[in-house]
Symmetry: D3
Subunit: 138 residues, 6 copies
């Protein structure tokens, strides 16, 4: 059974918590925690809709989903904290560092060189924090 | 030999023409043709940089590259003609219609419901023009 | 009991249908219908999350919510069909045409004159389709 | 007489100074001051056009105008300093913290979850700087 | 006396009308006229602020100002009608068609190939409507 | 021979290095260096395409090209590091500080006051780092 498979009787919130933990790990938990004193309902929505509903859908695997998210956040260029979380998430679900870099480089074509450049520097920070050299897994 | 493999001695322009034909087919040729009387050099750049340089890179297969592009163009929301070309391209390189729709739906999370909605209607037009019902390949 | 009040035992989907009908009327139904042959699940998400969850929240009345949405869609400038639906929605929940125009004009300050200009022309189309002269209610 | 009412014989610049002081308070003055050694004419334009012309218009009250501005700046996602100034401004003209949070949460629907998330964290900083707990006025 | 020089005693509105006529010609008048039944005050603001204040400033000539505007509107990618007006305006104040095309091509670097492509097609329409072949003045 | 003139037999990469050095100086070299351990191929693309291909084109002088780039990056509002590099570049190729400020102020019309304001503060930082008062060359 793959990670995305819904469990019988599982609520959207429980499924969202499970999928968030699997994809985003520690970084996801920090976002949820940081919302508790300002907008706890929004933390619930994040668990329920993006993770409980969307990432749990069976039609696309998590690797493909993270390719899509890294591409979009790089291209939009105004959500660097979320891009970093999803570069981490991409590595967590099986993308290599080289693949993450390929996705970001490609965005130069669609959103311009500054968007790609800022995406690469975000990746550089994430990779450095994980402490492995480029070329090693995750 | 995969489609992306560089051929020895092939120029960037020739490689770009080959990769464009493989990915975008007729839709790509139309864009190149439409530029001839206004900016033929830009047509050359499109062949050379996005297709001759980027899509020809070996680190990510074309299926993954089109996932990234469909995601980014849906999220940006201001390049509908190019989104349609790349929905076609995605189908050409092996994405199913269901996968295209999954990618676009996911963009509601990152770029909002209107971006996803407009992306879905663009996909609907592309699918209709190809004349097959949803569920059939390509 | 205001329109936003949750009914005991009502599902998110049912609440979303009720709130959509109240806010968007015919225009909302058309969007939901147009999705049925391409992405029916996304129609469900629209009913459940924006309408069943967000617009149903008690902390802000629908008039204020439509002010926010008209402002945002005008400023973003890449979602004209949705802007028109929400200009209609704004009139449905009690904004006057003059108020809609004030909101859009104000966006020139934050998103530039072209965004405001295109928003005003969208409003002109919506008003014309409703067939009343400026100054009359709704 | 409301704050927005034009005073007879008042220049655009004087009216803008009066309205800026009323809406933005100290934060507005800091922006104007910071421009003096780089672009003093632009400081004058800010006073004259957004404040002297737009916010002074009688067709929409300041509470509604700040709802519109907070929504737009959250959705655009690339103007955090100005979003913070207008979260303050919203509180100054009568929005509660809960209402500010509702507006920002709603933007997840139109501009995506990252835009709303970054808006909420901006609000958290503004609220912390004002030193009152959530739930207290302003 | 250059076109931008302020005339003694001229109001912002009169100066704006004069500068708009000089830069935008017929296309500018159409925009102003189209606003009369929906938001006549906004027409006045367009004359007063962009044209009466900004384009009238002496520190940059109109050719340079139109280079800036064509670049920005191409890069933003969500204001095609205004981009067309300013391609016309650029030709009116002395840019050649080749220069307009150079500016738009350059935007591929900063905003991506789709933005440049859509800008080039907008230019193609403007040039066709003016009825001269590429290479002739204006 | 002007700086943009292609030298016979020069490769795109060599021409790009020469043009980058001329336009961006130290700031450009830092970007190229920072990419070496994360995406050295992307550094090559920056040299080859924007600088070797686009900025080397003869149809528009470098002063005009930097006007276009400063305008676009100010309007886009999500690429501050690149905006700073190009404010420097503009000064390097002959724009005065006053002209840079005029370009940025003008963007208030097309992209809103926050975009212009943030652009002015970026310029203020660049000018301060260069250590000359406003009014002096470069």
């Amino acid at each position: 059974m793959t990670h995305q498979s819904p469990n019988a009787g599982e609520s959207r919130l429980d499924r969202g918590k499970r999928v968030l933990a699997e994809i985003d790990g520690e970084a996801g938990h920090k976002v949820i925690a940081a919302l508790q004193d300002i907008a706890p309902d929004f933390a619930t929505y994040i668990l329920e809709f993006p993770f409980g509903d969307i990432y749990s859908r069976p039609g696309l695997d998590l690797r493909a989903r993270e390719i899509a998210t890294i591409a979009a956040l790089t291209a939009m260029g105004n959500a660097t904290p979320q891009l970093k979380v999803h570069i981490e998430a991409g590595l967590n679900v099986g993308l290599t560092r080289e693949e993450v870099i390929e996705i970001i480089i490609q965005m130069a074509v669609y959103a311009g060189f500054p968007a790609a450049l800022n995406g690469l520097f975000a990746a550089k920070e994430v990779f450095a924090a994980r402490g492995l050299s480029l070329g090693e897994q995750g």
